[in-house]
């Protein structure tokens, strides 16, 4: 290899009593918007801090722009970061905050003021330049933190859950702004988040981590539709995972035998052995009448959860909890009361067999 801008090789980080990162191999292309995603404690933030040099790896290697970063202190790496807490300096004004990295580079006062003001202007904050940080709103502070990180024209920007402190409305606006910045600047963005919606909306590629290991990496739609293993399928939150064993074949499809019945699933090479497949909640049909789909089950409604434009119906199918996601008007038309019997069905082609059987 490689034309990767950032490359991580067999990266490990051990702390006394636990290991945060267990052997990560990852290449990040120049200009890529990559999201490190996973539950808390999965090692995503530690990985980001390792790239920034805020932590020293226990073993393995980090290279940025072809240069090994082992032993290079944080202040010598050009890897600015946006913190969840933003970490703005409260004793400096808005413009002084943005000037800070330029001051560290010993750029003359007039020049650095000019460049800081250009960035504030770009973020729509030039009227706030002389203000105290405490006088700004959450969204404005966010933009100051981004301006401060980008004022030195770095080749990469690291973001550690930057939007999780904002309210939903502001979060969406900042997502748009980050997307726009990424397109305009063309630099590499490494974005750590536990929120699927942010990762899906922003990233070219998602790296899903758990327990210090990468579980899957790929385009958001691929990770969503074609999860590698049960953890990934589970993390997506909208998948019904059914396990069983391959019982035979039916034309182009394999037949899998499970406690809930036999189902046809895609897979030309599947002949025997244990297997799990997922039926995505948005691809399962729901009706009061019997389904005529090839794969079908029946169950009792547990409850309905409102998610905005869509609703999720929870259904008890022989002790197994199924989730089905439908637009609100469809759910309303069905008049679902807890305890009512409903029938579910899905096409064999819409099921996905997990490549790594549990």
């Amino acid at each position: 290899m490689n034309n990767a801008f950032v490359s991580l090789r067999k990266l490990e980080k051990k702390y006394p009593g636990h290991q945060a990162v267990r052997g990560i191999d990852l290449d990040i292309r120049a200009g890529e918007f990559i999201a490190l995603m996973g539950p808390s404690g999965c090692g995503k933030s530690t990985t980001l801090r390792l790239i920034a040099g805020l932590e020293e790896p226990s073993s393995g290697e980090i290279a940025i722009a072809g240069r090994s970063m082992n032993g290079v202190p944080a202040f010598e790496r050009d890897t600015p970061m946006v913190w969840q807490s933003l970490a703005l300096f409260p004793f400096l004004s808005v413009v002084e905050n943005v000037e800070f990295p330029l001051r560290m580079k010993k750029i003359a006062p007039i020049e650095r003021r000019k460049r800081a003001m250009e960035w504030l202007d770009r973020m729509g904050l030039s009227a706030m330049a002389g203000r105290n940080i405490a006088q700004l709103s959450g969204g404005q502070r966010q933009r100051v933190a981004i301006a401060r990180a980008l004022v030195t024209q770095p080749p990469i920007l690291l973001l550690d859950e930057p939007l999780s402190a904002l309210d939903a409305h502001l979060r969406v606006r900042m997502q748009t702004e980050l997307s726009r910045l990424h397109k305009e600047l063309g630099i590499t963005f490494v974005y750590v988040t536990h929120a699927q919606s942010e990762a899906f909306a922003l990233a070219d590629r998602i790296v899903l981590m758990n327990d210090g290991v990468i579980q899957q990496s790929g385009r958001p739609q691929d990770v969503y539709r074609e999860p590698e293993n049960a953890f990934v399928a589970e993390f997506m939150g909208t998948n019904n995972i059914i396990s069983g064993k391959i019982a035979g074949r039916s034309g182009a499809f394999a037949v899998i035998e499970t406690p809930l019945g036999c189902f046809e699933v895609p897979g030309e090479r599947l002949v025997s052995g244990p297997a799990s497949f997922v039926g995505s909640a948005d691809r399962v049909s729901l009706s009061g009448e019997h389904s005529d789909a090839v794969n079908r089950v029946s169950g009792l409604v547990i409850g309905v959860e409102f998610f905005g434009s869509t609703q999720t119906v929870f259904i008890d199918v022989a002790g197994h909890e199924f989730r089905v996601q439908k637009p609100q008007h469809e759910i309303d038309a069905l008049d679902l009361q807890p305890g009512r019997e409903v029938h579910l069905g899905w096409q064999p082609a819409h099921a996905w067999v997990l490549p790594q059987a549990a």
Binding site: A74, W83, A87, F91
Partner: protein
Amino acid sequence: MADAAKWQTQDAHHPLTRLWTARRTGGSPAAVPVILGAPVVFWQAVFFAAPLVFLVVITSWRVRSFKLEPAFVLDNWEKVLNSGPFQKALVYTLEVSALSAILTLAFALPAAYTIAFRLSPRLRELAIAVLVVPVFSSYLLRIYAWQIVLSPGGIINSLTRWLFDLELQLLGGQFSLQVGLLTLTLPVAVLILVLALSGVDRTLLEAAANLGCRRARVVWHVLLPSIRGAVLLAGSTAFLMSFGDYISPVFLTGSKPPTLSILIVDTVKSGSQWPRASAIGVSMLVILTLVLLTVGWLGRERRFRKGGK
């Protein structure tokens, strides 16, 4: 509460009881801070404000054949402010206190930094305990200990005599005086700074490094600005403690040259000049107030201009 109810049922007709119960039960919430605050106000009035007024009043009294006489003369102020010994002592005391404040900060800042950032949590607790304990021991005792250590026949001189055949004049000068004052000021200053440093958000330090700030410069660019208020507080506390101190100048310099505190005692001893001693005391209070006002002004929140550049 139960008592009040009993009173009410038994002697509700009694006017005094009615007054009491009315106050207890019918009082508005606004009365609570007044009731809670009253003892403090009373204490301050009796033991601080009244003596202070008396101290100021007494400066205009007269002394005749060693007896105080009420009068209204400005003679005392004139004598004190124009006297050479007072002016010399004032300048000397200010110098000593300023030097003490600087030395205190010079020793306390690195010590506090080490305690707050370089020690393990257990060692940090131990260090803080070691700092706090001397505050509760007698200051006088500690100064006596220094006398023993620094005196011509003391520990240091015994050592230097034995090793280099050298006798050092340690006692009775600025050196011994500052050693004594540091004994007083250092634990307090280090405690103030350790508490302030412990409260500094560590992500700010990481952010500084992340933005290209070398470790040594982080102290100057982030750490000190973050604890500016505490540095001013520690410095001014050291200054004021040294300014009013009597024990170190007496026992470690033998009152030569005299500080203002010593001058007050001398003025009273020689001819019962209570009015003039009071004038010196009031001058010291004025200086104390000025120092506090200056520190308050320096330590105020930085107000940034509103709007554009």
